[in-house]
Structure formats: C-alpha cells, structure tokens
C-alpha cells in the first residue's frame, strides 16, 4: 500500500492536477468577470417590456423589472425592483414591490418609453398633443400619428440648435478670444494705439454682428418649437413634455423581437457616436472613446522611440558591468512604482515646470489663465509614456539579447559598420519584440486612470482635442477618458443606480478598445515575425 502510495506521489499525477486546477480557477475568474461585464453592458440597450402591476391597496405601478430578490428574513417571499423612471414626477427612479402585494400583472401595449434630453426616461401613456397650449390631437393613436409625423423635423431642429450652440457660437468665441489675446499681446509690448489696434478693433465689429445673427437664429428656432406631448403616468400625474426635448419614443410591449433588435442596434450606435447627456448618465460616450484612443496613440508615438533607443544603448553600446546592471534593475523596478506617483510627477514636472515655462515664454498674453500650464492630453500622454517606458525597454532588450551573435558578425564581416549593422540587421530583427513591448504598454496605458485624473482628464470636455479650428490638433486641451468615465458615472454621478448599466456598457467598451488596439499590434507583430523569422541561426 505504501509502495503504491509512493508511486502515486512520485508519478507527478497530483502535481498535474494542481497545475490544471490553478489554470481552471484563473480562467473561471476571468471568464466570470468578462461574462458579467458583457451581460450587464449589452443589456442596457435592449428595450425591455414594461410591467404594470396593480397592488392590493389599489395603487398602480408601471415600470421595467430590473431585478428580483428574496426578502431578507421572510422565507419564500420575493420582491421585484421596478424602474418606474419619471424622476421629475416621483423623485425616485426605482421602486421595490413585494410580490405578495401584487394582485394583477399586465403588459399594456400603449405604454410609451420616452427618451428625453433631461430627467431620464419618461414612462407613461400618451394622452394628447398640444401646439402652444391648444390641443391638436387627443387619444393614443392619433397623438402618436402626429408625433411620428413631426418628430423628424423636431429632431433636425434640435440638432441644428446644438450645432449652433456648439460650433457656430463656439467658433465666434474662439475668434473673440484670439483677438482679446492679440490686444493683450500688444498691451504687453506697450502698444496702446496705432494701426495694429485699429485693425483688431475692425475685426471685432463683424464678429459681434455674426454673434447677434446666430443668437437671433437660435431664438427663432426655439420659438418655432411649440408642440408638446402630454403623457399620463401612474397616479394620474401628467407631464407636458415639449416635443423638442424628445429624443426617442418606443412602445416596448408592442414591439416584435425584430423591431427590438433594430432599436437595440440604433441605441448601440448612439452610445458610441453621441455626446453624453445629463452629467454623463445618459447619451453616448464618443468624446471619451476619442480621448482614450488619441491619448494611447500619442503615448505610443512618444514611448516607442524613447524606449527603443534606451534599450539599444543599454544592450548594444553600454559597457556591460555593475552600473549597467544597476540601471537595468532600476528600470525593471520603475514598472512597479504606483501609477499615482507618476501622476504626481507629471503634475509637478510636466504641468507646472514645463507647461508653466511654455506659458511664460509663448503664451504670456493669456496669463494668469494657463494654456499649457494645466492638465492636458499632451501631459497625460507624456506621464503615461513615462509610466510605460520600462515595459518597452525590457521587451526590446530581451529581443536584442535573443538576436544571435552570428547575425551581427555576418554583417560586420561584410564590412558594415556597427551603425549599419544595427539599422539594417538588428532593428528589423528586433521589431517583433518592440511591438510586443508596445502592446503591453498600450494595454497598461489604456486602462490607467489614477495618473490621468490629475494630469488632464475631466468629467466633461467642452471640445475634442482635434477640431476644425487652427491648428486642428490641440494638445493642451483637457479630454475625456473611458476609464475615468467609469469612475465618474459609477461613483460620482447624482443617480448611481440609474447610471449603473452605463458603467457596465462603458467598461465593456473600454475592454473592447483595448482588445482592438492589441489585436492590431499583434497582427502587425505576426506579419513582421513571418518576415523576419529567426531560424535557429
């Protein structure tokens, strides 16, 4: 028996089970996490059916079922959580209902779920449509017909207003600021009169006229919007909602699966292409996607040459010895420094010192308002580049170490200099390793939040770092970031419960972007590997 036992242990069988078990556990954990994010994130966009319950005391509640749980302390009893929405009418988005109190459940097909520009969803029955207070249609179906006919127009007006506010007036403000700074620049030079000042004054007048024209246009558009929808919610409460505020109207209970799928796709598209609304808890996340990708790209452009050159010096030129070993250990340890420390360094060095100096030298007219002396996408990218440079150095160095000595000697023996050998033989061969380093760096940078919070990320950026105003690329601008968006929506928003699905959707999106960036880099690396495959040389 003991002999058998001994054989059992020495055969290594238990160890195989142990290793397999460890792998399985890891996979289950990761798989569960991804499944949770995917399930919750994708669920946000599905138009759920609306349940109307009648309670024992005669009260009626209408809403979407969010979850169902056992009531603590009461065995066999369940309660459901209804998203009743209509925050402006009831004050709360959610209601708990004990199932024992429910006497009747129904899914009425005339319940509308209305997405609007403020106060979250509106759930109720459409009663009538009014034009400047006068009823033009009453009853569900005729009102709906009017709404359907007039919505596209209202939508286009809404977008036009948005465009005027954001772009046309924004451009005028930008221009005005430019002129103000030009005045200030002249003032700093001691010029208070003369042709230059006159020329600037002359530019101001037409701007003011343009501004007036735009505000007039705005007023006209706004006044033209007189239609409103009257919606009746539970308890006889009604809401008179201007049609201009309506973004979408759906009747989930009357929709087929196909219609729901179409609505689902449309909402996913809105999510990735629209700006956020209502303190980021509604609408899309396009600026955050843009900011995240742009920051990662800028970081990659900075970190790759920096890390590769440093690695080349360490491996190819530096005399190997205790000092170089110490440098190598230091670089490796740098990767373990908490990211917030890099953030603090970024604030102190990049923003206050470098940015402050740039401001004093080149943007003195704007002071005390900082231009580069405050958080911005350039400083955030530089901070992250600093954070990820050890990864690139280590990966490149390992790649360099793996290149056979024979290959370098072959090149040198063909009368190539060391530089020619490095550029023509070593660099192409080490390319896959460089990309491996870049992949790791990008994955780390895209998911990093802490250092960004103090170097340039904001909850809501008024404009993207790239736009139509010269010089098109505005590296000093603050930006939005998906990682910070998750934190902001999930923990800093006024209505955390309502925003929770948004958190999952944003997380899913961030994961997706990281995966896409990685896949791109990996496919590039594989192509290079095929091209410069190192055989057993």
């Amino acid at each position: 028996m003991s002999l058998l036992n001994k054989h059992f242990w020495s055969s290594g069988e238990p160890f195989i089970w142990l290793t397999g078990g460890a792998l399985t556990l890891s996979l289950i954990l990761v798989g569960g996490l991804v499944a949770l994010i995917v399930g919750n994130g994708l669920g946000l966009f599905w138009p759920r059916d609306v349940l109307r319950v009648r309670l024992a005391d005669g009260a009626v509640m209408t809403g979407q079922v969010v979850e169902r749980e056992a009531i603590p302390g009461q065995a066999g009893q369940y309660r459901i959580k209804l998203k009743v929405a209509n925050r402006d009418l009831y004050g709360a988005d959610f209601q708990w209902v004990d199932e024992v109190r429910i006497v009747k459940r129904e899914y009425p097909s005339d319940v509308a779920v209305i997405e609007r520009t403020e106060w979250g969803l509106l759930i109720g029955t459409i009663k009538e449509v009014r034009d400047a207070g006068n009823v033009v249609a009453s009853g569900g179906s005729s009102s709906w017909a009017v709404i359907r006919a007039r919505r596209p127009e209202a939508e286009s007006v809404r977008r036009e207003i948005q465009g005027i506010e954001r772009h046309d007036i924004g451009a005028i403000n930008y221009e005005q600021e430019r002129i103000r700074l030009a005045f200030r620049r002249l003032e700093l030079k001691g010029v208070t009169g003369g042709p230059e000042i006159e020329a600037l004054r002359a530019q101001l007048a037409p701007l003011q006229e343009r501004y007036k024209a735009q505000t007039d246009r705005l007023a006209l558009l706004r006044n033209g919007q007189t239609l409103s929808v009257v919606v009746e919610a539970d308890g006889g409460k009604t809401k008179d909602l201007p049609l201009a505020q309506v973004i979408d109207v759906r009747f989930p209970n009357a929709m087929s699966v196909l219609a729901k799928s179409a609505a689902y796709a449309a909402r996913v598209w809105d999510f990735v292409s629209e700006d956020p609304r209502e303190a980021n808890t509604e609408g899309g996340v396009f600026p955050a996607i843009f900011g995240t990708v742009m920051m990662v790209v800028i970081m990659s452009v900075i970190v790759t040459p920096l890390g590769v050159l440093a690695a080349f010096y360490l491996r190819e030129y530096a005399k190997q010895g205790p000092f170089v070993s110490a440098v190598r250990i230091a670089v490796n340890n740098l990767a373990g420094v908490p990211s917030i420390v890099f953030g603090v360094f970024g604030v102190g060095f990049f923003i206050y010192f470098v940015g402050g100096s740039i401001d004093r030298l080149f943007f003195a007219e704007a002071l005390p308002t900082p231009t580069y002396g405050t958080g911005g996408i350039l400083w955030a990218s530089l901070t992250l580049a600093l954070l990820t440079v050890p990864v690139v150095i280590v990966a490149t160095e390992e790649g360099l170490a793996a290149i056979p000595r024979g290959m370098r000697e072959a090149s040198l023996a063909l009368s190539a200099t060391k530089l020619e050998t490095t550029l023509r033989v070593v660099l192409p061969a080490v390319m896959p390793s460089i990309l491996t380093g870049l992949i790791l760096a990008m994955a780390r940078a895209a998911g990093e939040v802490a250092p960004l919070m103090i170097t340039g990320v904001v909850k809501l950026a008024p404009s993207l770092p790239v736009d139509g105003a010269w010089p098109y690329l505005h590296l000093e601008r603050k930006f939005m970031h998906l990682g910070f968006h998750i934190y902001d929506v999930g923990f800093q928003s006024p209505n955390v419960d309502a925003a929770r699905p948004m958190v999952f959707a944003t997380t899913l999106l961030l994961l997706l972007i990281v995966v896409l960036l990685n896949l791109f880099a990996i496919s590039m690396r594989n192509r290079l590997r095929r091209k410069y495959a190192l055989a057993a040389v």
Partner: protein, 272 residues
C-alpha cells in the same frame, strides 16, 4: 617555428617539393594574442600563399579560430583583447592605427561555422554587402547576385525563388548562400571557420568542391576539425596546439611525413 624567415624557408622547401612558386598573400609575424590575462596565441608566424587553400587544424581551443579571426579583425569585438606582432595582407599592415577596419573587411571576407543568413530574402542576403559598399543600380545588383550565386554553385537551385526567405533553405544551401554573400563584394581573401561542421556529408562534399573552384580567384583560409577535409581540400596545412603553430607545410607532406612528433601524434590520433 616562429619567425617569417623560417616560414619562408618552409615555403621554399614546399616549392621544392611541389611544382610551383608561391606568392604570399598574408604574412603573419610574431603574433601573440591575449584574452585578458590569458595567452591565446603564442608568437605565431606564417605565410598564406595567394590563390591556395590553407587549412589550420588542431584540437579544440588551440587558437586556430582566434588566428583566423585576427585576419579580418573580428577579435576587435571581444572585450579585453590585446595583440602583439604584425599581420600584413597584400602588403598592408592590418593593425595599423590609420587602417579603416571596414576597408579591411571588404578585402577579407568570412564564412562562419554556423550558417548565418540574414532573415531577409535570398536576393537581399547576397546584395547586402554590395549595398553596404555603395548603392549599385538594380541591374548591377542583379548581375552581382547572379554571379555570386553561380560562383557558390547555388544559382541553379534558387534562381526561381530569389525573393523567398533565405531561412527556407536547407543547411547546406544556407552555408553556400553565406559563401555567395561573402564573395559578392569580391574579397581577396576568404576566411572559413569550420564551414562544414554543421552539415551532412553530401553538403560537405559540395562545399569542398566549391572551395577547389573558388581558389582560382580567391585566397582561402579554412579552419577545420576534420583532418580528412584538410587533406582533401588544402594545399598547405598548419597544425596548432595550445596557441602555438607547431608545424606548417605542404599538406601532403604534413600528413604523410610530419617533421614534428606532436604533429604526428595528432594526425595519427594519439591525442586531441
């Protein structure tokens, strides 16, 4: 057996035995080399005749590869190397301070023990040297590549797949590609550091045939473990032991009638 005088005498003797007069291509005098504190070559002196195959034989670690790598100054790459004595190739002192090492390596090509083609196409491998030396036109390059591959007896096997990766070739083909790459810059001397040690007998035979062809245009110095190979391909052989050149002479004479007892012991397999 150290100074040039002795070597010249040996060559004269050799010429007396053989049918021809030789012109020296490489002249080595009183060459000593240290790796740090360790003496690796001890006062070596010899001549390498032009357009002949000269072989170095000897047990592992005897310094034959080190001697070979002195001829194109590949030892410069090793930290802590110190050299005394002189080497002249075609009359130029190659350790002269004013000498451009890349210029020397243009004149002295090298083929390594392990085939080491670049991870590039076959064409680019052969074109690498000419490209480094300048940028010849595409048609010139094509001519050079074809000529070199033909000289290396590889053209017929690869002419229809020049753009494919060199790493797809067999071991013997790769080594011949390395030879083609080395002769593409038309060196005067071709150094071969155990070029067949990783090859099978058939591939080895092809490379040996190739060496016999190439010696009409190039001066070849080969280091080999394989005494039969030295006997087959070389005109002159030097036997090295513990950093010393023990004996140098016409191959047939060295193998059949060695002057030194240590040489005889080695070639008869009594040690080494």
């Amino acid at each position: 057996m150290t100074g040039t005088v002795e070597v010249r005498r040996a060559l004269k003797e050799a010429a007396a035995i053989g049918p021809i007069m030789e012109t020296p291509m490489v002249e080595i005098e009183h060459l000593s080399l240290w790796y740090g504190e360790k003496l690796a070559l001890k006062d070596v002196g010899m001549l390498v005749p032009k357009h002949r195959v000269t072989a170095y034989i000897g047990p592992s670690g005897c310094g034959k590869s080190t001697l070979l790598r002195c001829l194109n100054r590949m030892n410069d790459l090793v930290d802590g190397v110190r050299i005394a004595g002189s080497i002249r190739i075609g009359g130029t002192d190659i350790y002269d301070a004013s000498l451009d090492v890349t210029e020397l390596r243009k004149r002295v090509g090298m083929v390594f023990q392990k085939s080491n083609p670049f991870p590039k196409s076959i064409f680019e491998n052969v074109a690498y040297g000419p490209r480094i030396l300048g940028a010849p036109s595409r048609s010139d390059l094509e001519a050079i590549v074809e000529r070199s591959l033909r000289a290396a007896a590889l053209w017929d096997e690869v002419h229809d797949r020049l753009q494919e990766s060199a790493l797809g070739l067999s071991g013997g083909q790769q080594q011949r590609l390395c030879i083609a790459r080395a002769i593409a810059v038309e060196p005067e001397v071709l150094l071969m550091d155990e070029p067949c040690s990783a090859l099978d007998p058939i591939a080895t035979a092809r490379i040996e045939e190739l060496m016999l062809d190439l010696k009409n245009s190039y001066t070849i110095v080969i280091v080999t473990h394989n005494m039969q190979q030295a006997a087959r391909v070389s005109d002159y052989t030097g036997f090295m032991l513990l950093g010393e050149l023990v004996e140098f002479g016409v191959t047939r004479q060295l193998f059949t009638n060695p002057r030194e007892e240590r040489t005889e012991d080695y070639i008869t397999g009594r040690f080494g």
